[in-house]
Symmetry: C2
Subunit: 270 residues, 2 copies
C-alpha cells in the first residue's frame, strides 16, 4: 500500500510493485503520483469534488471558481480554509448564499466534464477578444519551453502529472503541477488572483493538449499567447482564432507550429 | 479555418499553420484532431455536455450513462437518437422521467470532473470485488499492447487522442478513440453494452494514465485486468488493490510493472 513521501511535498507515494519481463521477475519500490479528492464547499454548500494532486489546494479552489465564472475578482473572496484531513476546502464570498445557489444552478445546466452547448455556439463567450501588443520570438518560446520542462520534478519521478506556467517573454513567473491539465491551469490562475499577479500581456505554457476548455480559461484571464508542446484540437484552434489568442503548439526540438494570430510571434532578428 | 476531412471519418481537420524555427518560416497544412460538444438529453432533460471526438457517439452516450450508474443494462435503453447537426443525442430509457430527475439530482451532488467525496472513502463503491480466474502472460501483455498502439491511426496523424480497447488474452475485440481518456473508455463499454459483448474475464487497455475514475469504470464492468503504457495515480493503485483488479502500468519495451493483484500475470513458461 502507498506510503506518503514527505520529501516531495506529499505529491508522490512509494508503492511496492513487481517488474516483469518474459524471463525475469523482480520486486521493486516504485513512485506514483498522489491523487486525492478535494471537495469545494462554497458558502456552506457543497459545489464540486475535484480529483487532484494534494498541493496548492487554495490556488486550485480559487482558480476553479474563477474559471467557472463563480467569482470575478480577489475582492469577492472573504476566506479560503483548507481542512487537510477531510479533503474539504471552504470558500466564503461576499455575495454569500445567493451566489452559491446560482452556482449550483449553473452546474446543473452545464455540469459534467464540459460546458453547456450554448457556450460553444458563438464567440461571445467571454464578451471580447484578447487585445495585446505583446510579441515573442521563436527563440524565446523555445527557451521558455525548455525551462518549463526542466521544472517538472514530479513528472520526471512518476510520469503522471501535467504542468502549467505563467511567463513573461524571459521568465517563468508562476508554475504549478497537477494530475489534471485543467487543474494545473486553475492553480496558476488561482495563485495569480490571490497574489494580484497580472496576466495581461503575458504567456501561458501547458504540458497538455489544447482543447476548448483550456482556451476558455486562458481567455478569461486575457492572456494573449498560449504555448504547448502537445497538439491542439480543432475547437481549440477555432476558439483561439475567434478570441484573438496566439496558439503555439508542438514546440519540439527547434521548431514551433503557430496555429492562430501569428502576428505575435517573430522570427529572430525581425 | 478547419476543413473537414472525410477520409478519417470526420475525426480530424486540416488547418493552415506557420511552422517557425529561429531561422525560417513556412506556411504548411497540418492535421488536428476534431473536438465537438455532444449534449446528452436523457428522457427529454438535458443531462450533460461532453467534449469529444465526433465518432461513435451512441456508444459514448450509452457508456457514459452506464459508467455514471444511470443505466444498468441494455434492456433499460429504449432508443438512442443522434442529431448530427446540433450535436445532441437523445436517450430514452424504460424508467423514463423519474430516472432523469434522479440523474440530475445525482449530478448536482457529485458533479464536476469527479465524484462526490463519499465515493472515495470506502471499498464498497461497486458492492463487490472483481472475481476472475483469468491469467495472462507477460508476452501476451506485450503483444496486445503493441497491437493496441498500431491501431491508433488518429494519434499518429495528430498526436491528440486517447485510445481504449477490450481484449481477450490474444486479440483486441473492441477499440475506440477519443480526445478524452474517459470518453474512449466509455465508448468501449457503450459498444459492449449495445452489442451484448461480455466484459467478464477480459482485459482492458488504455493509452492514458490510470486514475481513480478509470478504475471505477472498469470495476463497474467487472473487468479483472487493466493495462496502460502510462502511469497510475496513488488512488488508482489503492482502488485497484481494494477492487481486486490487476493493474499493469508502464508497459514499455519488454517489461511491465504490476501494481496490484499480481496473481493474474504469469511469467512465460509458468
Amino acid at each position: 500500500m502507498p506510503k506518503s513521501d514527505k520529501g516531495m511535498e506529499d505529491k508522490t507515494e512509494r508503492v511496492n510493485i513487481l517488474r516483469l519481463t518474459a524471463e525475469s521477475t523482480s520486486e521493486i519500490e516504485d513512485v506514483v503520483v498522489r491523487e486525492s479528492p478535494l471537495t469545494i464547499v462554497l458558502n456552506d454548500q457543497e459545489l464540486v469534488t475535484l480529483l487532484c494532486s494534494p498541493a496548492d489546494q487554495k490556488n486550485l479552489a480559487v482558480g476553479f471558481l474563477y474559471s467557472e465564472g463563480l467569482i470575478n475578482s480577489r475582492d469577492e473572496v472573504k476566506s479560503v480554509t483548507l481542512h487537510e484531513g477531510t479533503g474539504v476546502i471552504r470558500v466564503e464570498t461576499e455575495s454569500g448564499e445567493e451566489l452559491a445557489r446560482e452556482a449550483l444552478f449553473s452546474r446543473l445546466i452545464t455540469s459534467g466534464c464540459g460546458h453547456g452547448a450554448s457556450f460553444y455556439s458563438a464567440t461571445d463567450i467571454t464578451g471580447e477578444k484578447v487585445e495585446s501588443l505583446l510579441q515573442v520570438s521563436v527563440s524565446e518560446v523555445l527557451a521558455l519551453t525548455k525551462e518549463f520542462q526542466h521544472r517538472s520534478e514530479t513528472y520526471r519521478a512518476t510520469g503522471g502529472v501535467h504542468s502549467a506556467a505563467l511567463c513573461d517573454t524571459k521568465n517563468i513567473l508562476v508554475f504549478s503541477e497537477d494530475i489534471g491539465r485543467h487543474n494545473a491551469m486553475d492553480k496558476v490562475f488561482g495563485e495569480c488572483l490571490l497574489k494580484d499577479i497580472p496576466t495581461d500581456d503575458r504567456l501561458v505554457i501547458t504540458s497538455g493538449r489544447i482543447s476548448s476548455e483550456i482556451l476558455l480559461k486562458v481567455a478569461r484571464r486575457n492572456v494573449p499567447i498560449l504555448i504547448s508542446k502537445s497538439a491542439p484540437t480543432s475547437l481549440g484552434v477555432k476558439m483561439a482564432e475567434e478570441l484573438g489568442i496566439t496558439l503555439v503548439g508542438f514546440v519540439r526540438g527547434k521548431r514551433v507550429n503557430v496555429y492562430t494570430n501569428n502576428h505575435r510571434i517573430t522570427s529572430d532578428g525581425k
